[in-house]
């Protein structure tokens, strides 16, 4: 059984939970005392990941750290359609480019959230500004993608790049970053949130499912 070392409030762990759910893949979670105990910085956990970061995935003998690496592995192993991590040189290059963006520039939004929610001693004004710059890049890109009938981050179909970019953009309000100026991002978030198998996490506001009849009794 796939085992995910997990923290409920971590957007990076949520990348993996979300993707496993989209794949319909069974797994078990091991909740790690990220806060307030900081178990991920203690010897037991450092043995699993010497970088002291969540998530970590164990599948049989394989132990992987880094959400982006885990997404690539899961897609390569458990997605028979091959669409989440396409086997084409250019497409794979594009996916890698945005995976790197998700693990790099977009993590400023994660850091702003750690400051605002968990009191991490960061320069939050600078982080928010960097995150906004990254959001502008993503919003410009997605607006052009839509005009090319390629509405996903790395191509005409959703890939692991969308899953890697989604959480910290969707959670940006937690870190004091409003998304009012990024309409193409908002449309893309809405597209992700109706993918079959989508699950949310605390802090993400989902659209109406259109199900329950809400009319008051006459």
């Amino acid at each position: 059984m796939i085992r995910l070392y997990d923290f409920v409030l971590s957007g990076s762990c949520y990348k993996v939970r979300l993707f496993l759910s989209l794949l319909g893949q069974d797994y078990e979670t091991v909740p790690v005392g990220f806060y307030p105990a900081k178990e991920h910085k203690k010897p037991d956990f450092l043995q699993l990941n010497p970088l002291g970061q969540l998530p970590v995935l164990r599948d049989g003998d394989l132990v992987l750290r880094d959400a982006q690496a885990i997404l690539v592995y899961l897609a390569s192993k458990y997605d028979p359609s091959g669409s989440w991590y396409p086997d084409d040189a250019a497409a794979r290059g594009r996916v890698a480019m945005w995976l790197s963006f998700a693990g790099g520039e977009l993590m400023t939004a994660s850091a702003a959230r750690l400051h605002d929610v968990l009191n991490y001693p960061f320069d939050v004004a600078s982080l928010r500004e960097q995150a906004r710059q990254a959001f502008v890049v993503l919003d410009d890109h997605l607006a052009e993608q839509e005009l090319r009938d390629c509405p996903w981050v790395a191509g005409p179909e959703p890939t692991v790049a969308d899953i890697a970019c989604f959480p910290y953009v969707a959670l940006s309000n937690d870190g004091g970053i409003a998304r009012d100026e990024y309409p193409a991002i908002e449309r893309w978030l809405a597209r992700v949130m109706v993918l079959p198998g989508f699950i949310d996490m605390p802090g993400i506001l989902t659209p109406w499912s259109g199900e329950a009849a809400e009319e008051p009794a006459a």
């Binding site: 909740p31 307030p36 009191n119 004091g176 996490m201 605390p202």
Partner: protein, 286 residues
């Protein structure tokens, strides 16, 4: 020093840190009601708390208590001792200290949200509530004159997963105790012990009028869940509330009865706001 504060805010007891996290190698530099505070534990275990100037100079030593797993202080002269929670003496309960979570709003908005039933299906969807089971049945909210505490009783709500240990949906009984304006405890039917109540409490530490560190605990009968499982369940619930709390306008709690329109389901909020007004609370209210 910041502006003069009213006794109703000064004379309450406030948590500034959990006992566990205030270690001799880890002082707590924080704020309370807009003033700088330093909490320290000596190598021998003694806790001292002082109010400081913005430049970091000691102004005065503050009263200090360690109870219920937390370190408490006050900037004023409370007329009452720290409220009693006898449940902490009961055998078989497990204490979960959820850590400090920061929220950009007033303490009054935080407490009022904690007392609120009708948001469950919309904010804690499929956990503490689910559409279409949204009806809030009549309940009572009353200031207990002898204790000076606000009690909200006879609450019931249909909950898909009322606690970490819940195995399925259930009709859950609730009551709330607000022992002082900026502290609240809820009691809800325990899935772990028939006829008993589990406790969840929040102690907002107002850093500024619209910025709080919230200290939260659970005191439960649960032999099934892991400590981390229970902790993360509660942290998840809290982060669902947090995005709501940070997006209410104004951030200060409006005490004018005409400022916002309540419904009958808001009986607890109506009584809470009236109580704050009568006490003369000014800090964090509009």
């Amino acid at each position: 020093m910041s502006k003069d504060l009213e006794p109703a805010a000064l004379d309450q007891w406030y948590v500034i840190e959990s006992s566990e996290d205030l270690r001799s190698d880890q002082p707590r530099r924080t704020r309370l009601l807009g003033r700088p505070i330093l909490g320290e534990r000596s190598a021998s275990g003694t806790v001292t708390i002082e109010e400081r100037t913005e430049e970091g100079e000691t102004l005065r030593k503050l009263p200090c208590l360690e109870r219920y797993g937390y370190v408490w202080t006050t900037l004023g002269a409370p007329v009452k001792p720290l409220f009693d929670m006898p449940e902490f003496e009961e055998d078989g309960r497990r204490l979960v200290v959820c850590g400090v979570l920061t929220v950009r709003t007033s303490p009054g908005r935080i407490v009022e949200n904690f007392l609120d039933l009708s948001h469950f299906p919309f904010v804690h969807t499929d956990i503490l509530g689910a559409e279409p089971m949204t009806e809030v049945t009549p309940y009572k909210a009353k200031l207990d004159e002898s204790s000076g505490e606000l009690w909200v009783t006879e609450c019931g709500f249909y909950q898909p997963q009322a606690m970490a240990a819940s195995s399925g949906a259930a009709q859950v009984d609730y009551l709330y105790r607000v022992p002082q304006p900026y502290a609240a405890v809820l009691y809800k039917s325990s899935p772990g012990k028939a006829g008993a109540f589990d406790l969840i409490g929040i102690f907002p530490q107002p850093l500024e009028e619209t910025l709080c560190d919230v200290h939260c605990f659970m005191l439960v009968y649960d032999d099934v869940s892991s400590y981390e499982g229970m902790l993360q369940w509660q942290q998840g619930i809290f982060l669902q509330d947090r995005i709501i709390l940070e997006n209410q306008r104004p951030a200060r709690l409006p005490l004018d009865p005409k400022a916002e329109l309540p419904s009958r389901a808001d009986t607890s909020a109506i009584q809470y706001r009236r109580w704050l007004k009568n006490l003369g609370v000014e800090f964090g209210v509009a």
